[in-house]
């Protein structure tokens, strides 16, 4: 029962994550794990492309909240792109859109990191 898979790639020093399916209490560890892999490589500029994200439960939002201090402390950010209506509504009713920058497209999200340092790692 594969409810979620997360592909990732890197472009211009930005880590792109592509969650596909549901991020819920059952699948959140996989989602967290992919984010953690980027942090373990000291990559703190992250874009989550939500085009394939059908639904996100509070466990999934918690996974983003759980690392944001560390990410921003290291000069990076997690930005979101290409949200479907369901996910956008969830973000709006909870006020998540005030805490994270959300972009209509992945390209805009990647470009938003330009001039914000490279990777944001402490040594960068």
């Amino acid at each position: 029962m594969s409810e979620l898979n997360v592909e990732s790639r890197e472009l211009e020093g930005v880590v792109l994550l592509y969650p596909k399916g549901f991020v819920n209490a059952h699948t959140v560890r996989l989602f967290e794990g992919e984010i953690q892999k980027a942090l373990d490589r000291s990559q703190y500029q992250i874009v989550v492309n939500c085009a394939g994200l059908t639904y996100i439960a509070s466990a999934g939002l918690g996974a983003l909240m759980g690392v944001i201090e560390e990410v921003r402390h290291n000069g990076g950010d997690i930005r979101l792109a290409d949200l479907n209506e369901t996910v956008r509504n969830i973000f709006e009713i909870l006020g998540f859109n005030h805490l994270y920058r959300i972009f209509p497209s992945e390209v805009e999200a990647i470009l938003s990191f330009r001039g914000e340092g490279e990777g944001g790692g402490p040594g960068a």
């Binding site: 819920n24 209490a25 059952h26 959140v28 560890r29 967290e32 439960a57 509070s58 466990a59 999934g60 939002l61 918690g62 996974a63 983003l64 909240m65 759980g66 690392v67 944001i68 201090e69 560390e70 402390h73 290291n74 509504n89 969830i90 009713i93 909870l94 006020g95 998540f96 005030h98 805490l99």
Partner: protein, 581 residues
């Protein structure tokens, strides 16, 4: 703000004006066009805010005033300011009126007057005032005449339905949003509930609870403390900056958490170590986890990223989550305990099998001797042991022993004794043999593990018996004539003193003599009044028997059973009896 239709009317009116028609009529027509404009504008918009703004602006424009306010009846009482232009700073959000006007009033009641509003006009719908329009003075000192107030009433009448619709739309929107949040939260409780009840991995449960609570409150940190030996120990934490170390709770915090009535804002806690620690850790909410009457843990949540304070609804959610977390953690703990118990049972069963294999399968037949023995462990794995070892020349070695402890360690020690005796018995005199076994046990066993043991070698025919008693209950030698000897010669228990020296005792069994060796399960068997069976009763039972070895044994066991009043015993019971024939 004009619509094409209104614009056409305006052009027609301009034409009349150029032709020098009656001014009052022109003015009335101009007002009608304004009403039309208002209706068209208000009907083309839906959001409450836009409707209210448009209504106020149109009224202000038509009556040429530079100050205006629209107050809307608030469900909570009074009228709430929803749109304003040109008001002085510090205008109240909600105003209360003793008397709600049902027609335009000039001068306006003092609450309006203080804001520089000279006229108040009610917006009425079905005999009810749903809003109040307050207006500042007309330009150049002109007043609101009957014509102006009449026109204002018409404007208010046209605006009433759109304003009501707009308010309803806003309310629906708000309710809908609240409902969406509730649905989302409910969905989340189901989501995490399903996952928690199916999980038996304590680490995964802690992690999930933390992640979910952070996602729910959009808080960037949360921690879970669980009750341990030293109080509330940190079990899991998320969201700390890399340069931060997690906050540990002082020992007194457990009692403070115990006293919490339920989820509480950290700012509301009584001052003390708990509040200090949580404030230092930048936590805003503390949720006790209660199992039964006792607090089993504390879930702490950082302040919300939005800065919104934690309210009653948040407490409900936190409580529901804490209960689920507590139940899941308890379930996982019980599962772990059950697994551990199962492992111990399996280990014990193996120990039992090892031990059983150490006892001789049958009693030996030796010319001129009857031999009988019994051993009944009271635990699954006891510490008693006996053995018969056939030696060269038809000789037989008898062993009875009581190893300290129970269970697996006892059975391992017993196996060592068994193996070392079996390997060396008959190769050296008994005293030397036990010195060797003692040294071996001292080297191979843990401190404070020891064995009491009686070892004897019997020659068939001559029935000469050489023995060594290593700290064991002295065996009873009941002579055929009735007198009693105890076989005490030997040395200390085995396994404690490496250099212990043992002495060999010798006796000859005469015809009809009975030799009985027992463990403390016989002599220390307790009556219901906690009185020991003792040497005297053991001797009495043995002396009373002049039958063969197995009946003497049976009588002894029955006497002990009768003494204890129970079919089982308080300790292992082992006895070995030899009768010379």
């Amino acid at each position: 703000m004009s619509t094409p239709v209104v614009f056409q009317y305006q052009q027609a009116l301009d034409e009349f004006r150029r032709e020098g028609r009656e001014p009052p009529l022109l003015k009335r027509m101009s007002e009608l066009i304004s009403l039309l404009d208002l209706t068209a504008t208000l009907n083309s918009t839906l959001s409450g805010r836009e409707i209210l703004d448009a209504a106020l602006l149109i009224v202000m424009g038509e009556l040429q005033v530079s100050r205006g306010a629209l107050y809307v009846r608030d469900p909570a009482g009074g009228f709430r300011l929803r749109s304003a232009r040109g008001l002085p700073p510090g205008a109240p959000d909600v105003i209360e009126l003793d008397e709600i006007p049902d027609r335009p009033k000039e001068p306006a009641p003092p609450v309006f007057g203080e804001l520089g509003l000279v006229l108040v006009c009610p917006v009425r719908k079905a005999d009810r005032t749903i809003a109040l329009i307050g207006l500042g003075p007309r330009p150049e000192g002109s007043t609101f005449g009957p014509q102006e107030t009449g026109f204002l009433q018409s404007l208010a009448a046209c605006a009433a339905t759109p304003i009501e619709n707009g308010l309803m739309y806003d309310e629906l929107h708000r309710v809908n949003k609240t409902l969406s949040v509730k649905v989302f939260q409910l969905h989340n409780l189901f989501d995490i509930g399903g996952e928690l009840t199916s999980s038996l991995d304590e680490e995964a449960i802690k992690r999930l609870v933390i992640t979910t609570v952070m996602g729910h409150f959009l808080a960037s940190r949360a921690a879970l403390y669980l009750l341990g030996e030293g109080g509330l120990d940190l079990a899991h934490v998320r969201g700390l900056r890399p340069d931060e170390s997690p906050i540990r709770l002082p020992a007194e915090a457990a009692a403070e958490a115990e006293a919490l009535p339920g989820p509480s804002r950290v700012g509301d806690l009584d001052s003390g170590p708990l509040r200090d620690a949580l404030t230092r850790g930048r936590f805003g909410l503390a949720v006790p986890l209660t199992g039964g009457a006792r607090v089993s843990g504390l879930l702490t949540v950082g302040e919300r990223a939005s800065g919104a304070p934690f309210g009653d609804e948040d407490f409900d959610y936190a409580l529901a989550l804490a209960r689920q977390a507590q139940a899941a953690l308890e379930g996982a703990r019980l599962h772990r305990v059950a697994l551990e118990k199962e492992r111990q049972d399996r280990e014990l069963q193996i120990a039992q099998e090892i031990q059983r294999s150490l006892f001789p399968r049958s009693t030996p037949t030796v010319e001129g001797l009857e031999v009988a023995a019994v051993s009944r462990p009271c635990h699954q794995v006891g510490g008693d042991y006996y053995d018969f070892i056939p030696l060269d020349g038809g000789r037989l070695a008898l062993v009875i022993a009581d190893v300290s402890g129970k269970g697996t360690p006892a059975s391992i020690l017993m196996a060592s004794v068994h193996a070392s005796l079996r390997a060396t018995a008959g190769t050296t005199p008994p005293a030397v043999l036990l010195e060797r076994v003692n040294r071996f046990l001292c080297a191979s066993t843990q401190d404070n593990k020891y064995v009491t043991l009686f070892y004897a070698e019997i020659e068939p025919g001559s029935r000469r018996l050489s023995y060594v008693n290593a700290g064991h209950i002295p065996p009873y030698l009941v002579r055929a004539g009735g007198e009693l000897d105890r076989l005490r010669t030997g040395g200390p228990v085995l396994g404690l003193l490496e250099d212990a020296v043992f002495e060999e005792g010798k006796v000859v069994l005469g015809e009809g003599d009975l030799l009985a060796t027992v463990t403390d399960g016989v002599t220390e068997a307790l009556s219901p009044d906690d009185e020991e069976f003792g040497d005297a009763r053991a001797c009495a039972s043995l002396c009373a028997s002049d039958d063969n070895a197995s009946s003497a044994l049976r009588q002894l066991v029955e006497a002990v059973e009768a003494w204890t009043g129970r079919p089982g015993f308080g300790d292992d019971l082992t006895a070995l009896i030899v009768r010379a024939r």
